[in-house]
């Protein structure tokens, strides 16, 4: 035990925790939630995103740096609906931070506060990476983001009572700008209505549901499984019967499959940002939808 005590002493001196000035230390599983917390929290929060737009949020390793971040977090905000089951439970178990465990005020699952789509009637591993709780990629519908923002604000107010008015003011301001932006996006996206689009993975369900775009097929034979040549050939056959306008993929997915299909069929392959940082100029939630819609419209030409 003496050795342990010495270790503790030496290391507490070496790595003395530096003071955190912000009232709330927030660990976001994905960049979109970091951006939303930043909108509402402003200077009162320090935020960290566990993933970037170039990483697949289904497949993240519970690496040491993430354990260290969760250890110090006041609030953990994630998509939920099983998107992070491969790594978040392990982080929470290893970090020894009681305030951010499921059920506690410091644990916020965004998808729990909105209606989810694609809830399967049955689930089986042979179906690929399906989520029993429904599709977790809820941030791609701005109307759902507006709802989540209200719930998130309440949560931040509970965690940081001194900032109640500050957060409320910022949420009101965000909501005004956001609602205005939503009607502009809807106007812009009218030409996309009813169009058929090939997707890489079922990341786009909420966006397409909002803009009334139809999914013409997926590049993944089954969710989470890599594309095969045979699957592409089948897809090409299906597209002959009922053509699509374009194929879309995200920054974290390999463009190869979409480009291959483009070669085979003459479709345009479009890279969409999917989240903050997923394309140049996408540095907040507003620019995420600005650029997503702009690129989709570009795909129509």
């Amino acid at each position: 035990m003496k050795i342990l005590k010495t270790f503790v002493l030496i290391f507490s001196l070496m790595f003395a925790a530096y003071p955190v000035h912000a009232a709330l230390n927030v660990f976001a599983c994905e960049p979109e939630w970091k951006a939303l917390v930043d909108e509402i929290g402003g200077k009162r929060v320090t935020t960290y995103s566990a993933t970037t737009a170039f990483q697949d949020p289904h497949h993240i390793e519970a690496r040491p740096s993430l354990i260290a971040k969760v250890r110090r977090a006041d609030l953990v905000i994630c998509s939920g609906a099983e998107l992070e089951t491969g790594w978040l439970p392990l982080l929470l178990r290893q970090a020894g931070n009681a305030n951010v465990l499921p059920g506690k005020t410091g644990y916020f699952e965004a998808s729990a506060f909105v209606q989810r789509l694609d809830i399967p009637v049955t689930v089986d591993r042979s179906m690929g990476d399906v989520h029993a709780g429904g599709n977790p990629h809820v941030h791609l519908d701005p109307r759902r983001i507006a709802k989540i923002a209200i719930k998130l604000t309440e949560r931040m107010q509970q965690l940081d009572p001194e900032g109640v008015r500050f957060y409320q003011h910022r949420q009101n301001d965000f909501d005004q700008r956001w609602q205005k932006a939503i009607s502009q996006w809807q106007q812009l996206a009218i030409p996309l209505k009813g169009k058929r689009v090939v997707v890489h993975h079922k990341d786009w369900v909420y966006l397409f549901n909002w803009l009334d775009i139809k999914i013409a097929g997926a590049l993944e034979p089954k969710p989470g499984l890599p594309t095969t040549v045979r699957h592409l050939v089948n897809l090409k056959q299906a597209l002959k019967k009922s053509p699509a306008s374009m194929a879309v993929y995200t920054a974290y997915q390999s463009p190869r499959a979409a480009k291959r299909l483009a070669q085979m069929t003459g479709l345009t392959a479009i890279e969409l940002p999917y989240t903050i940082g997923g394309a140049e100029g996408v540095d907040d939630l507003f620019s995420l939808f600005d650029i997503t819609i702009k690129r989709l419209l570009g795909g129509l030409k």
Binding site: T52, R63, P64, R71, L101, H131
Partner: protein, 407 residues
């Protein structure tokens, strides 16, 4: 990296009903009170150029140590049950079902509880668990990147240290990951053996430090120390020059192991889906002081024994395209053992006769999904003086809701 996304058939109607009722507040679909149950299926084929019995000169082998069987055989088929017990505790139970000499043997590998909400970075674990020393020790065999354990794990730990006890660990509130931990163990199992000191025969200490370099790299370095008062550790597997081993080398004394481990992982932009590289290395050193008896000999053959053994391995595993990985590993061991009776030391397998055990391994594996893997491995094994070319083929599959693996 494996996930638990699935339910069991009978719950689906209930769960679907909950969602159809529009209960959007339900935090996750994991509303069942059933624990996560997963089954690991492991089957192998082994082919060896050498038929003489396995030895590791300078090391008294025991535990699970030894090379695999010849031909088709089953590996470690495991049943794992785990769950959060309540808001304060998590529990895990692992049993391995193996075949030994045509009879089915059940081994209890893990049975522990762990605190969840202790706060301040503290976690306490109690029960039977894999010790957290080294990097590979607390990983299940099915999570290894090669079919078999590194030689240093085989030689010092009998593949892995599993013991009964209590572990306390603390994660520092720093940006750099720092974890300190200690274990008080019963020491009743190999390599401690004997449950001395009133059933508190072994202890362990570890420090782990880790972090990221940019978004593409992450690393971890660990230091660990394990010691035990050994009372009657038997060499389970040991070559005895053709004769039937009725005399069993048995060690009494103190044993201390110190190790350093290192792992570095790279993937482009931190996205391991398409491509990744993992480099790891570990070094261990063991000092032992006591005596070795040849139990079963008459009159009893005995010798004093002062041993110093060390070993290291380094390996790299490269995922060059989705589903496919290749790996390289190199092992090397060394020892310097002294005692009053060189003949007895020799019988106990503690004399090297100038041989330095080493092994080179190459493997390639294919994972259809994160739940299935098929692996081919080729080794040039110079564990002992007869060089052995080994070919191993293995499948590892996991059924059910399997928890995530550690870094």
């Amino acid at each position: 990296m494996q996930t638990k996304k699935m339910f069991y058939g009978k719950h689906i109607p209930i769960i679907s009903c909950i969602f159809l009722m529009g209960a959007a507040q339900v935090a996750t679909a994991k509303t069942g009170f059933n624990p996560d149950i997963s089954l690991i299926l492991d089957g192998r084929y082994g082919s060896y150029s050498n038929t003489s019995s396995y030895a590791l000169p300078g090391f008294m082998l025991g535990g699970e140590a030894g090379r695999g069987e010849t031909g088709l055989y089953l590996g470690h088929n495991e049943l794992i049950i785990s769950s959060n017990i309540d808001d304060m505790f998590y529990g895990k139970f692992t049993t391995a079902i193996t075949d030994e000499n045509n009879s089915t043997v059940t081994e209890l590998e893990e049975a522990y509880i762990e605190t969840l909400g202790l706060d301040y970075g503290l976690t306490v674990k109690a029960g039977r668990f894999y010790s957290d020393i080294g990097y590979l020790n607390n990983q299940h065999g099915h999570a290894w990147d090669f079919v078999d354990a590194p030689l240093v794990y085989r030689g010092l730990f009998g593949d892995q240290i599993i013991d009964d006890g209590i572990q306390a660990s603390w994660v520092a509130p720093t940006d750099l990951y720092l974890k300190l931990g200690t274990e008080i163990l019963r020491g009743g199992r190999y390599p401690a053996a004997g449950s001395t000191d009133g059933g508190l025969g072994a202890e362990a200490y570890f420090v782990k430090v880790g972090g990221d370099v940019g978004t593409s790299n992450s690393w971890q370095v660990g230091l660990s120390h394990w010691k035990a008062d050994v009372s009657g550790r038997q060499a389970g597997v040991h070559a005895h020059g053709g004769s039937t081993a009725t005399e069993i080398a048995t060690f009494y004394g103190s044993s201390k192991v110190t190790g350093i481990d290192f792992v570095w992982k790279w993937s482009p932009n931190g996205n391991a889906r398409e491509q990744s590289l993992k480099i790891q290395a570990e070094y261990f050193e063991r000092k032992e002081d006591g005596r070795v008896d040849m139990v079963g000999s008459s009159p009893l053959e005995t010798t004093t024994y002062k041993g110093k053994q060390h070993g290291w391995y380094t390996q790299a595993v490269y995922k060059f395209m989705p589903r496919w990985r290749v790996g390289l590993r190199y092992d090397k061991l060394g020892s310097r053992n002294n005692g009053s009776d060189a003949d007895v030391l020799g019988e106990a397998g503690l004399v090297t006769n100038g041989h330095t055990p080493s092994r080179s391994t190459i493997m390639i594996d294919y994972s259809r999904s994160e739940f299935s893997r098929i692996r081919l491995q080729l080794s040039q094994d110079d564990s002992y003086s007869d060089s052995d070319t080994q070919l191993l083929l293995q499948y590892t599959m996991s059924l059910g809701s399997h928890g995530a693996h550690k870094f």
